[in-house]
Symmetry: C3
Subunit: 500 residues, 3 copies
């Protein structure tokens, strides 16, 4: 119903009145008296109309006031903040799921860490190489307080299985990988702490970053602890300080009088993470009391402390030679820090273990519809798990995409990995030296093409991989140790991948 119920009669009355007046007004020449009378009638009608118009204006203004657009705007902005995930509940996800089949129609071994180098982080390209359904489900709850402070609560459920069945209760790895709270915009934080964010709980560090195409983080710091982000030391320099704990549980302990004894300890990681312009410099100290009592299987002593550092550059061009982006990082770690990616996650490292790793990738458009993303990941690691061992490898990878329509692109990926591994008998592994190559072509559907990070994708793929047969000897229980997977392999499949 209209909010102006009285309008029609009034308008009609006025219109009729003025019509009658007008009809007399346009008549033939009249006496002054008649003209005056007519004018008086017209002015009376006009006054009536003015009164009516004013009443209507009052009503319209009252209606507009009732709408109270400032309040309306606030209410709309508030529900939009909820819809946009800026307030209240929101969802983030990473998911991939598909089939990876060999040429007999059976599941093939796969995963970017399938080569012997993979056991110490040497990933190869992931395209057309993933056998699992892996999913991260993140719920956020964001609050804004009366004083302007904000809180962000996050919980992540994660699961990974390789079965293709729908009911996976027996294989399920469902678990809570993150649950933390982070505060920002705190009014009583001023000076260097004005933009600081504080957090506690279990989390992935905010400043982790990865080479997506290798499914390898460049740095992955995660665990339970607390910290502060974005302490501003100068205009260009901000720093994060945090303490993360990780658990080493139920490892065998040395000691002739207690066979079967196990120990547990915590690996505490103290982190300083500096951003100075485009540079990132991270320094980590690690301590795991009593981890040196661990039975290493040899005379060597496990580390009970460690050091780790990373120097990285985040570039906003394609290595300075074109539009795009690049990232480059050099990492070094010693003792417990010698697992240079997944900081603090490896308690088997020796006190003399040392690792140096280099990670580089870039993204660019070669031509309007041709995207290219090359990457290099290389490592030298020694005295890692057994005295005199070494794990050296280098991966060269490139993904190329040709955007053919709004919803379809052809993707190509080539991986080459060289490795020279000398485990010195650790876990019964054998020394190997050789190379692995993988080529993939993947017709890919997308709701909208146009970028390296544009997801979701639905892809079909065919991969050909080959490797030096010596690599099959590294371990009996890894992918290349599988008797049915010996080199010159074709694999086929389909997969969806997305994040938001």
């Amino acid at each position: 119903m209209s909010r102006f119920p009285t309008r029609t009669p009034l308008t009609l009355a006025v219109a009729l009145a003025s019509l009658s007046v007008v009809s007399t007004a346009v008549a033939q020449p009249q006496s002054l008296e008649a003209r005056l009378a007519a004018l008086e009638a017209r002015i009376a009608a006009a006054e009536q109309r003015a009164t009516a118009a004013e009443r209507r204006a009052d009503q319209a203004e009252a209606a507009l006031d009732a709408l109270d657009d400032a309040d309306l705007e606030q209410r709309l902005a508030d529900v939009e903040a909820h819809a946009d995930g800026d307030l209240g509940l929101s969802l983030n996800a990473y998911a991939r799921s598909g089939l990876l089949l060999d040429d007999h129609g059976k599941s093939a071994p796969g995963g970017p860490y399938l080569t012997p180098a993979g056991s110490t982080g040497g990933a190869v390209g992931r395209l057309g190489n993933e056998p699992d359904t892996y999913v991260e489900t993140t719920l956020n709850y964001k609050q804004r307080f009366d004083n302007g402070a904000r809180s962000h609560y996050r919980i992540m459920l994660a699961d990974g299985v390789t079965t293709s069945n729908d009911w996976t209760a027996d294989e399920s790895d469902l678990n809570v990988r993150q649950v933390y709270a982070q505060f920002s915009d705190l009014p009583s934080f001023t000076g260097a702490f004005e933009d600081a964010k504080i957090w506690a709980g279990k989390r992935f560090d905010r400043d982790n970053f990865d080479i997506h195409w290798l499914d390898s983080d460049i740095i992955f710091l995660a665990g339970t602890g607390a910290g502060v982000y974005d302490i501003r030391l100068s205009d260009a320099w901000t720093t994060n300080v945090s303490l993360y704990g990780r658990s080493f549980s139920d490892y065998p302990v040395t000691g002739s009088d207690s066979p079967g004894l196990t120990g547990s300890t915590d690996n505490l990681i103290f982190t300083l993470n500096n951003h100075i312009g485009d540079w990132q410099w991270m320094v980590n100290g690690l301590s795991a009391n009593d981890n040196d009592e661990r039975d290493t299987g040899s005379e060597a002593t496990a580390a009970d402390s460690g050091f780790h550092t990373m120097l990285a550059y985040h570039g906003d061009s394609f290595f300075g030679v074109g539009e795009g982006s690049f990232k480059a990082a050099a990492l070094y770690g010693r003792g417990l820090g010698a697992e240079v990616k997944s900081l603090g996650s490896d308690g088997n490292l020796l006190d003399d273990a040392e690792t140096t790793r280099l990670a580089v990738y870039g993204t660019t458009y070669l031509a309007p519809r041709w995207r290219l993303a090359p990457a290099v990941l290389a490592q030298h690691s020694a005295d890692r798990y057994a005295r005199g061992d070494s794990y050296d490898w280098a991966t060269f990878n490139a993904r190329l995409a040709n955007e053919l329509t709004e919803n379809f692109e052809m993707q190509y990926e080539a991986s080459y990995q060289w490795m020279d591994l000398d485990p010195q008998g650790y876990q019964g592994h054998n020394a190997v030296d050789g190379a692995y190559t993988k080529l993939t072509v993947a017709p890919t559907f997308k709701p909208q093409v146009g970028g390296f990070w544009q997801r979701p994708e639905i892809r079909l793929f065919a991969s050909w991989s080959d490797w030096d047969s010596e690599l099959n000897d590294f371990a009996g229980d890894d992918a290349l140790g599988d008797d049915t997977f010996n080199g010159g392999e074709w694999t086929f499949g389909t997969q969806m991948e997305l994040w938001f």
Copy 2:
């Protein structure tokens, strides 16, 4: 605060001015000069009022423009789309939870598959017969892209336990049953593919359908793969094409030289699913390489391939004799296709296995507040797991409901199941022949009565069930094999059931 800060003074001034003019205007007869002067004053006042009214109109129009209703409408529509689950995050659920007690106050065996026929899919009525807390939690995330394309991400967590305790970590079956992405409205898809939807991941097929009252799907296709829905071949004919993989894991393998050896393979299901008017015709080919190496426990050979087809009719009346609905389906499968409902889920089927199944149900109102839903499910299956075996059964079920108030109805359910099972010693099972009967009455509360699919419901119930005692001999470890559950049983309980 009003958005018209200048209104009141101006209005007042004009009102006062016109009042004074009016007061002179209505005075006694005047000279022409006086009348003219009065008119001039009145017209001046009227002009002032017109100017004021125009200014107010300007302000009102500016305020209305600021409200910008097209934008407002768009913003409201957008947040409504989020609230309605058409964009962003939304939740779907199926859940049931309650108590099923015998007349000693202890948990009773139950479930629609409790009879020997249940082992090959012969369900009986579920009302007052469910002992578990089963819950499906589905999160959707829907995106609309600039080019109009849409993406739907879905993840389902499912769990089922029979314990009544709240903390169920030890019994938990929590797992990810679905996780997939589906794209639609793709601008570069035209012609027969204009309405096509493509998907990949792990899912329940969209076109599965069930007999709700028996908790039995008529067809249940699920697994990991990819496909296309709604390819339009003609005005009346659309078709879906998909490939689903399922896993057969760690089954015993024959071979005298390798006792204890297990094998694993993938059961690949290629599907064509046609909708032609009200008819649905589905054709499936199945292949599980090396499944014929499975140890069947006899000389018979397990199937490594299969064929399956279903012809169904989706009716929009109660079998043509009244208002309502009905569905009827005939299914046939051979080899791996002989599990005609849960396609591809049974790797123990023999290469000669054959199954024919008929499924029919309808819904109608017998009278204004009386609902009736009868159903029939019947099967003949032979050479299923052992040569010469047969699993024949037929279930007749009817649920009747009498809506007594807005929030309360009486529900009644009757089930009769005949079975003639000859397992030929498979898994130590014995041949049995007989019938099972169950009658249930369930006073039921609902927020709003009025339909077969209207949920949630909270119900109390009492069930009486009886069966030929010969059925207790089929297996020692099934519900009827339970020593304390011999026939002539009363069970009682309470339950909630819902979906949305």
Copy 3:
């Protein structure tokens, strides 16, 4: 674009017309004829302006009508209801996560139930004493039906682990603790049932309440069942009626001819819970058929029934002596009711078991920025698990907080617990008698300080605890039985805690 496309030309025309009229109008003295002509021109212009203004008013009113504010208000209210969690999907959570380290940097034993008294519910203060990541994730889905009825569906996922690692698939206790539906505002419920809410499923009872600082419920009723809340017996008196089932699974059963035999039964709890003004009076009857066949490890007989009652007062002042709140409850149980907090959860109770428990706490501001919350929990329990045993203890706890800035407060907590436990050899436990003391200081960050229940919090803490060394002898496998945790212990850590 403006919705008033015709405005500018019309306004301009009128303005020009009136300007020209005005310019003549203000000229020198004129003849009557000239004045009349001028007036006629002015009135014509005024009439034109009135017509234009009326047209603009029509347009503005049409625009306002199009906005249709009643509908707009309804639509906004609807999306706000979704954003606020009053309709549709919403999230609730409880979470805590952090590190609890000893002075060697290793995880320390902890938890409010770490003392020997904890085995029968004797909690001590939780601040600076929690070693776990515990999280409850609750999804709600609220519906409003056409007839005004409302439905609330709730599912809670819970998990608790002590590992600090992010990937916890091996340790995960993720499980569904609640899943139920509750209906309210049912139009056909009238009279005493007008405000009644009915529910079924698995849940925590709505009227459970706790002493937050001890992490101890005063009453915790949970399980699977159905019930009715808020039946109004008089103006001041409402009552809840419910039936909860709980499962006792796979317990050893006595009987010389069947060693290793286990039994299972259901513990049914029938509850009447009355609210009479500020008083709450709860009466519970429990029955677990055949639980008396349980092997108690002695001649004593396990209970197959029980009785439980609680009288509580919910005060809206600090014990009548200041602003704040207090709650006080006396609980008594016999047989299966002798576990007086977690009703029906303990099947090992003897038929003669008796427990009396007192619980009191209050909250108040001692001064503008000083909060105090003292609590007492005390129990006498006898013939609990073995004839002649007794479990007597009393905990005195106080948490003090000093709000120093908008985002920071100092929290202090002191706990003292006395205990005299005589298990009569049950489970190999030894009789002990002694006291435990814990003092904690916790610098605490909050988005906004200001209340006992204001969360989230991020805290650092240091705790000192000491106890009579005799308490170490109670059990070999509890926290105090740990060889490395003997008294005079310092622990340190960080933690986030929140709920919403």
